[in-house]
Structures are given as structure tokens and as C-alpha cells.
């Protein structure tokens, strides 16, 4: 039973659905409080969930990325531990410098909430459950600032939007990993695609990266 610390910031929104997805796959979800300088004892993997940490003030994820717990998340990542950032969690990881690039306002200037097809761009990370390159996963997005901006050569694209990309990400990037592959961030919400009732179980392929 992998012990997964789920970080809660003021304004985190998807903590409970992330915890449910982890538990549903046999992991143990524990809460990591933003003000603590250390992760809970026994933490094996870290999940930074979606939401609007600090009300998205200044820049999405900017204030959360400077909070005490992020020092511990950085040390966990540097030691090779797995870290997954979803939506606002992805923004926090970029602002913290644990992943390259930044997330900007969607090209449509609107909140985009819909099921998306994502193409596996790199099959050699723990985050796509061994699906081959080119395989298509169905996972929803729900965000206002989801357009990844950066130098694609500096990133390791793991998932790309398949077909239309209303967000306007550089190279249609939906999710990237660090070079070692142990840190992953994506704008789509895999925790909302872990139940047949929600129309797709493909999210388990991503969440599973925390558990294997």
C-alpha cells in the first residue's frame, strides 16, 4: 500500500477526488498541510491536486509554490520520489521550478471544461501505464489557465492534446515530466477519470504512476 501525501493549500479543490482515486487503486492517501516544513512520516509519493490555491492571486500556483511544504516536496523529488501535479498542481510545480515552463491564460479566454483525447507522446515514464506512444486516453480538462508555455526542447512531453487544443498550449502539450521522469504535471484531471460511471477509467494509468 503506497502512502501518497496529498498536499492541501488554501483553495485546493480536488483533494477529496484525488484521495478517492488513490484509495480506489489500493493506495493510502494522507494529507500534507501547506504550512508544514516536512511531508507526513512514511510518505512514498506526493500528489498536488487541482483547485485555486490562494485564489489564483498574482499568478496561478505562484504563492503556493513558495509555501513551506514545497521545500519538502522538492527534496522528495530530488531524492527520486514520485510527484504528480494535476491542474493547479501542475502550475505549482512549474512555479516551483520542479518542471519547466509556465501555464498561461487559455487562448479562448474562457474556462474550458470538457472530456479530451490525449495522445501518449512518451511511453517510457511511469505515468501512462505502459501504453504505447500514440495511444489515446480520454481524460477531462477544467481550467482557465491551461496553456503551457515554454521551450518544448527543455521539457519531456508525456501527453499531448489529440486533435483540437482549445487551450493553445505550445506543441499541444497537455502534460510533461522532468528529465528523470519522476516528476509529472498535467492540466487534465486523471482523478476524474477513475470510475466507469464517469465514462473513462484512463485516469488510473496516470494515477498509477504514484503507486507502482
Amino acid at each position: 500500500m503506497t502512502r501518497v501525501a496529498i498536499v492541501r493549500f488554501p483553495g485546493s479543490l480536488d483533494h477529496d477526488s484525488a484521495a478517492r482515486a488513490v484509495a480506489g487503486m489500493g493506495g493510502t492517501a494522507v494529507e500534507a498541510w501547506h504550512g508544514e516544513p516536512e511531508l507526513p512520516a512514511g510518505t512514498e509519493a506526493v500528489l498536488i491536486p487541482g483547485g485555486f490555491s490562494y485564489g489564483d492571486h498574482l499568478r496561478c500556483g505562484a504563492i503556493a509554490s513558495r509555501s513551506p511544504v514545497m521545500g519538502a516536496v522538492g527534496r522528495h523529488a530530488a531524492a527520486g520520489g514520485r510527484v504528480l501535479g494535476i491542474c493547479n498542481g501542475f502550475q505549482v510545480l512549474c512555479e516551483a521550478g520542479l518542471l519547466p515552463g509556465a501555464l498561461r491564460r487559455n487562448a479562448t479566454l474562457s474556462f474550458v471544461c470538457r472530456q479530451m483525447d490525449l495522445e501518449v507522446a512518451d511511453a517510457d515514464t511511469p505515468w501512462t501505464g505502459g501504453r504505447p506512444r500514440g495511444a489515446v486516453l480520454s481524460i477531462p480538462v477544467k481550467n482557465n489557465e491551461g496553456a503551457w508555455y515554454g521551450d518544448p526542447a527543455s521539457a519531456r512531453p508525456v501527453l499531448r492534446y489529440h486533435g483540437e487544443d482549445p487551450l493553445g498550449s505550445v506543441d499541444h502539450i497537455a502534460g510533461i515530466a522532468n528529465e528523470a521522469g519522476n516528476v509529472m504535471g498535467l492540466m487534465p484531471h486523471p482523478e476524474e477519470a477513475c470510475d466507469a460511471l464517469l465514462g473513462s477509467m484512463d485516469g488510473e494509468l496516470v494515477i498509477g504512476g504514484l503507486l507502482r
Binding site: 498574482l58 505562484a62 513558495r66 509556465a102 498561461r104 487559455n106 487562448a107 508555455y149 515554454g150 493553445g168
Partner: protein, 77 residues
């Protein structure tokens, strides 16, 4: 206390959809001859100490601006 004004703008070459939307609306209102429109933010800080501008610059580097997508200027008010 000295007041310092920080201006943060999207970097040249970085898509500014907000500026583009405002540009479209202004054109629709009949404002011709409009070039680029870019939207940023102004931050007013009251800072104590000998070097308020230097302190504000440090704040920009560490939090207020993201150098990948934004440029900033710091001026005493």
C-alpha cells in the same frame, strides 16, 4: 516608508489573449489605427529601509514576476 511601483508586463512575443480581446473590442468601437494592445499589472508597495527599489527588485525576482513569461520595471513613486 517609501512607495515603489512595480509594473509587470507579458514578455514581447508571448501571446497575450487578453490584450488581443481588448484590441478586437476597441476596433469594433471604431478606433482605427490601433497597433498591439498588451495588458499587465501595476503593484504598489510601501517599503521601509535604505534601498526600497533594490528590495522591490528582489521581490520581483523571487515572487512578483515570472521571468519566463513576464518583464518588470521598478520605479520610486
Amino acid at each position: 516608508m517609501s512607495q515603489v511601483v512595480v509594473t509587470v508586463m507579458p514578455r514581447k512575443g508571448v501571446l497575450d489573449p487578453q490584450g488581443q480581446a481588448v484590441r478586437g473590442a476597441l476596433t469594433q468601437l471604431g478606433f482605427d489605427g490601433l497597433g498591439e494592445v498588451r495588458i499587465g499589472k501595476r503593484i504598489e508597495l510601501d517599503i521601509a529601509g535604505d534601498d526600497p527599489v533594490g528590495t522591490a527588485r528582489d521581490m520581483c525576482e523571487r515572487l512578483l514576476a515570472n521571468a519566463l513569461i513576464e518583464d518588470y520595471t521598478v520605479e520610486p513613486a
